[in-house]
Symmetry: C2
Subunit: 218 residues, 2 copies
DNA sequence: GTTTAATTCAAACGTTTGTTTAATTTTGTG
DNA sequence: CACAAAATTAAACAAACGTTTGAATTAAAC
């Protein structure tokens, strides 16, 4: 039973991410999961409740990782930022499906779903906040807008995972490249960019720079 | 005639952005536009072609602004970055509707639509690239990954415009705040964050920093 | 004013949608 | 084995979907 339920969740995850929630029919899901159409109502009640269950099903994972990362006292705040970047790039690239649902699809749905998505994001934000404030207390990081900084990380990755056509053009890749190659080209570039970006953004030494014109000529 | 066509486009823009492409019926659009259902097929051929026309209808605007900004020789590269941030934050916040379609919705549609969206983004990227390379040639900006930097700008804004529930929680706003207040709270914060972020990210003086551990003691 | 073309409309088209039904099979328990 | 509960099924449901039709109306051209 738990087996079938999970089959349905995985199938739904793939299809929702590929064709959107409205673009996916419960018949598509049933077929991909290899179960009868009626099983979806039987297990989940409705298509919307299926999406809700899907959010719960996947939500715990990222939080667990972030919690562990926070507890690890052998890592400096800078190390943690690097790990954070690696984790999110890898995770989003390998779970494009779920991430698309979580970060775009769920915002146009029922109140229950929007609230669930909100709570998951807030819980994750909480963990990342701890990493940054820790770096600030240790005198390594400067004062930044933490929630927006998190938005920058997620948003940068999303902007390159949401539309393969555009990304392929940027990477000078053929549009029908296989997913594995696609990830292998995009991943290091995203990580390098985010690391460079966050180092400059967070470094305490870059604080208060009155900025430029110290190089008047042209 | 051009009048009705435009009415339909505007109605479609609002509804697509609010409920997604699949979530919006042509009947919804016809009603909101105050035209007969059949007029949509009459003018546009199909619902997908309507989306295509919508992209064309709105695409030119941003490009024109960016082109002008580039030509203006009275502005320093830093000024241009500031203007760029202001422009995109304002534009996206005031055209949430269109932006959502352009940057998320169109990626799951037909080849024609995905290509059209891609071309529009590439043309805009081209203009922003000029601003940054100009700053580099003038010795103000360091070497950065330009396309990903543009992705960071767009992505940061998107991550806070795609889900109002989450954003309201961050801004400590009531969820049913009116759109005007919502914008007025979000806009300055986004602008300040992006300006701070890009100053650190682009500043030539922040280049090559071997980073931290120059402050060993905790 | 007549004729031709462009526009608008209500109605209906055939599909597809999410969900329910009621009968059947499988499973677990005493 | 028997019996009750759970799981599974094919079929049917009404509702909504995008699109087409063909007649009615308006506008333009001569």
């Amino acid at each position: 039973m738990a087996d079938k339920r999970e089959h349905i969740l995985v199938a739904a995850e793939d299809l929702f991410a590929e064709k959107g929630f409205d673009g996916t029919s419960v018949r598509d899901i049933a077929q991909q999961a290899g179960v009868n159409l009626a099983m979806i109502s039987y297990y989940f009640g409705s298509k919307e409740k299926l999406l809700e269950s899907l959010l719960e099903f996947r939500a715990g994972y990222a939080y667990g990782i972030l919690e562990e990362l926070n507890k690890d006292e052998s890592l400096s705040p800078w190390d943690k930022i690097d790990r954070l970047v690696d984790f999110y790039v890898d995770r989003i690239l390998n779970n494009l499906r779920f991430h698309n649902i979580m970060y775009q699809e769920s915002s146009t749905r029922s109140v229950e779903i929007r609230n669930k998505a909100k709570d998951i994001k807030l819980r994750n934000l909480e963990q990342i906040s701890k990493i940054i404030t820790d770096g600030q207390q240790k005198g390594l990081f400067r004062q930044v807008d933490i929630p927006l900084t998190v938005g920058t990380i997620m948003g940068t990755i999303s902007s390159y995972t949401l539309s393969k056509f555009y990304t392929c053009a940027i990477l000078a890749l053929n549009e029908d490249v296989n997913d594995e190659q696609y990830r292998q080209r995009l991943s290091p570039r995203l990580k390098a960019h985010l690391r460079q970006l966050l180092r400059a953004h967070l470094d305490i030494r870059n604080d208060g720079l009155p900025m430029t014109e110290d190089r008047k000529g042209l």
